[in-house]
Symmetry: C2
Subunit: 198 residues, 2 copies
DNA sequence: CGTGCGATGTATCGGTCCGATACATCGCGG
DNA sequence: CCGCGATGTATCGGACCGATACATCGCACG
């Protein structure tokens, strides 16, 4: 892919958890990845030179391609988990690439995230319990809303963990919620996706 | 307050929406505020010089105090709203200081936030509707979770807006949820808090 | 038929914030 | 009495954002 395309893909994949990656971050990063040997510059595929001639005259537009070392490095990165793996953004990025890892890694990350959110939840309960009278009504409402989000996320994580343990795909049919959309046929169950061809 | 104390206060107030402010951000900011004349350095109150003598020998520990211009500037800042007022962090910061503004400002910001979240929600519905087959099960689950969070936040905002319109405090008694805590007596209704003594 | 505008595309620059770190004192328990 | 965690101020490098510049393509509208 070229930079712009990559940004669009990442925005579609990560749009639920963070804003689009800025150009000031994207292009320097691509150069760093290339310097490290994890991606290479592939020619802008003129596509038999007569097909789509308008694009052939297009300048710029550098197409990159991941290398073997790059794939290895990527696998390392999503498999290894530090504390930053469990914060909001870090977890979202890992989760978005869960289909690229093994079940053990997925379970490890889900449980680490659950622990993190549980700690945050306890902190909020402390504030709401103890220091409640020191804070105004709006601040308290903010804490309540945050606490509610924590509780919901813990429940969500627990469903995912249970699904993972039972080897099922993460369908989560949303038991009693206002369901309506049912056209969503479950994609191939992402267990041990080992073979991906470049 | 001095820097460390300020950080603790802000962490308690904003802990639900963002991480603690870093020192690399806190201290330079305090100096900038002082240079702009919005805060002044107050002496470290030796407190009759014989009371708590251990602290008197303490070096460092600069205590700051907001000035009249600072208060004015602060009022401007939370009253004016741009696009960054409606993103996650910006809205949280404004909301945490809602008790310091008037009802018109609160309504304006709540409605702007609702519009922002509704747009995000529509974007997620588009992804889940159209490009669903191009994404793996985990990515889809991430979008579903994000969509759910959007829907809940819209409902939350609507309750707050209704409360605001009716002039009530933002108690939000949480209609059918697993209530239990009832010790939370509602703080003074934050309408037009105009007089605060330094 | 042209003209303007939005999408596509690469690139840089200044500024802000984070994360790590350094350093010092205080209070407390072992 | 010694160490360790909380309190407290401070700096530095690096990462990232937001704005901006610049160029081309395709399409709609007058």
């Amino acid at each position: 892919m070229h930079g712009y395309e990559l940004r669009k893909e990442l925005t579609a994949k990560l749009g639920a958890i963070r804003a689009a990656i800025s150009y000031g971050s994207l292009y320097p990063t691509l150069r760093r990845l290339q310097a490290a040997g994890w991606i290479t510059e592939a020619a802008e595929t003129p596509a038999t030179a007569e097909e789509v001639p308008a694009l052939t005259s297009r300048r710029g537009r550098v197409v990159y391609k991941i290398t073997a070392e790059g794939k290895e490095r990527f696998a390392q990165l999503i498999a290894q988990a530090g504390p930053e793996t469990y914060d909001d953004t870090g977890f979202g990025v890992h989760f978005a690439f869960f289909a690229r890892t093994d079940q053990a890694t997925r379970l490890r990350i889900l449980e680490g995230r659950r622990r993190t959110i549980e700690e945050r939840r306890e902190g909020l309960r402390d504030v709401l319990g103890r220091a409640a009278e020191r804070l105004d009504a709006y601040t308290l409402e903010l804490q309540r809303h945050g606490l509610d989000a924590c509780e919901r996320e813990v429940r969500w994580l627990e469903e995912l963990i249970a699904n993972e343990r039972s080897g099922r795909a993460p369908t989560v049919p949303q038991p009693g919620t206002a369901g309506g959309r049912r056209d969503n046929n479950s994609p191939p169950p992402p267990g041990e996706s080992r073979k991906e061809r470049p």
